[in-house]
Symmetry: C2
Subunit: 354 residues, 2 copies
DNA sequence: CTTTAGCACTCGGATAGCAAGAGTGCTAAA
DNA sequence: TTTAGCACTCTTGCTATCCGAGTGCTAAAG
């Protein structure tokens, strides 16, 4: 079932030409592209074989060939040349990583934009569920007499805050007290460990206060919970319209609105399937989601610390420049891993000044 | 130059029909819609007048009429009935406001999504430049020996954070010291007041530390600076494709990519022009941005506290359901104002009505 | 002076037919 | 196995034609 060398050459020519032009490729065009010393008739015979075997398709009898998903698959697995990024490109990515990724909880947003801009495809980023997340620190900051801001820092260095208003006034010392209480009783606990029992005890220790402890702790629980669900961000959906396969508005719209249902998207990705490889390409019908059956998805995973993984990906027509996209994606993913890694492991590079 | 009552009725019928159907309206159709007891010929005469005067346009000789921007303008100013939201709608909005608007710095994002979903148009939100923003509070939280997270809270209750890494180890007490130093020296200062002079003094007072003060303070300055530029968020751009005027992909793409240049968008909006009214409608060529010349924009302003204003808006074809959109937008804007208001004033100054 | 009926006219959109061009598949020979 | 040649298929673009919607105008009626 192995293809001859020549067939592979031809398949490759078809794929690469089609990726560039989005036009079916005919036998004559292949002649030049593949640099084979045979006639177009020979190529036609080969094409017929490849079509027979399911690697190519014909939009209609008298058109050239386009790759089938199976054809792309073979191409990606065996024929594709790894793409090296230019120095300029890596420089650009590095710069963006350093410039934009200051606040860890905005990372997925920014990373999405960046990738989308880099690849000209819509991108999405998800930060995997951190099942065992805990709070590392509480801070309460008085705003005025009757309200304060609760800030929690999780062990994955995500900072979240909420404005909490009270029916009564509150003093700075009271808040201090609460803060230390919170920091002694609730830090390092996972969601499950934050039992009502524990809260009752603390509430009691705090004395007076109006269920303040539970207000703050339930906020903390919300945060932990939200980290449990994977966070999703999509960006650059408008790039869909750049590609001729979506000149039909109906199609474009379907895909776009699917992408904006971020939860559905997250669900449909076979994250476990990523396994140990750090990039994965899903071609057309290989996608589980019905809406993605005639698009391709390129995924790259990044380490989020604690053995947790996040995923970054782009969506595009099956006629996608897999090599380039995979290269970029994987470079960004590495960058993200380092970014998160830095936070965890001690010695790194010195921070640049401003 | 006043139009007769009948002309107004006809204009109104044209606008409203066209808003619904996106099809040019003919004289016969108007008969039924406007409920006038005249013949179609009479209507045609009136239509000719209205076209003459620039309120209507004809796509081509043998088509019906569509409203011109001038026609829409008249409609919006005089003919449009204010739309009341249904109880269900207000309930829905209120719920979303309470549910989603916990973190103040995520508000503009969430508000955008919400409005876009509510109106089926792409939406954007900008939080006006807070020129005089100050820091209200610093917190430094140790992550591990050589890194910590700086959290700053601004006077507009925005919380921002950054992970800062050091070439040396740091102890909890040291951080404590720094924190109080920061909170005594730099709180309540505007961007301009955070002079190098001030930093030098504080740095000196802090003794040892590796320019730590300036690291944190320059982060704070970045934050203040970023609040100075207006923050922009766009959402729901895919809704553009819902409307038949964008069945042409080229057009849709242009608009989309314009919307994603958030800075340009923010620049182009005539915010001052909003003046005291709290909603404003810009029809077609009334927009300054070239890219919006054949779209309409509905804006509503909300109070962000401190006399500062933010703006929330949607973009759509000139054939937009102005009444409904304006109603929803203004309701959301009010909600936002209250949200911010809550944070700021205990019931000091009453809400402005109208 | 306004309204109306009647009618010719215009233009866009749909449909069909036709010619050109691209690319194939097949056959028969090298 | 490869190649040349050729008939065949199917798309694309163009043109012609028809149909209908809706107008604008005129002349008569209120």
């Amino acid at each position: 079932m192995e293809l001859t060398e020549r067939k592979k050459k031809i398949l490759r020519a078809v794929v690469e030409s089609y990726i560039r032009t989005a036009e079916p490729v005919g036998s004559k065009a292949i002649l030049e592209l593949a640099g084979l010393n045979v006639s177009s008739a020979t190529i036609r015979n080969e094409l017929a074989d490849l079509t027979e075997q399911g690697y190519l398709e014909q939009p209609h009898t008298s058109a050239g060939r386009i790759p089938s998903p199976k054809g792309y698959r073979l191409y990606v697995n065996e024929l594709m040349q790894e793409q090296r990024l230019s120095l300029e490109e890596t420089r650009q990515i590095n710069e963006a990583l350093h410039l934009k990724m200051q606040e860890l909880d905005k990372v997925i947003d920014q990373a999405g934009r960046m990738v989308s801009q880099l690849t000209n495809y819509p991108a999405f980023v998800l930060a995997g569920n951190a099942r065992r997340a805990t709070i590392r620190r509480f801070e309460l900051i008085l705003v005025d007499g009757s309200s304060f801001i609760a800030v929690v820092l999780t062990d994955s260095n995500v900072v979240r805050n909420k404005l909490i208003r009270l029916p009564v006034d509150l003093s700075e010392p009271q808040l201090q007290l609460l803060t230390t209480l919170l920091n002694t009783s609730f830090v390092g606990k996972t969601l499950e460990e934050l039992t009502p029992e524990l809260m009752r005890v603390a509430e009691h220790a705090a004395g007076s206060s109006y269920g303040l402890i539970s207000l703050v702790v339930s906020f903390a629980m919300e945060v932990l919970e939200s980290l449990g669900h994977s966070a999703v961000a999509t960006a650059g959906t408008s790039h869909i319209l750049d590609h001729p396969e979506y000149r039909d508005v109906g199609k474009a719209q379907k895909l776009m609105s699917y992408l904006s249902e971020e939860q559905a998207l997250a669900q449909s990705l076979p994250l476990p399937a990523l396994g140990d490889e750090n990039t994965k390409i899903l071609i057309g019908p290989e996608n589980v989601a019905e809406e993605l059956k005639d698009t391709s998805v390129v995924l790259a995973s990044y380490d989020i610390g604690d053995g947790m993984k996040g995923v970054i990906g782009v969506v595009g027509p099956t006629r996608m420049d897999y090599a380039k996209v995979a290269a970029k994606l994987s470079y960004v993913a590495d960058g993200l891993s380092k970014l998160f890694g830095q936070a965890e492991l001690p010695p790194g590079k010195p921070e640049k000044e401003e």
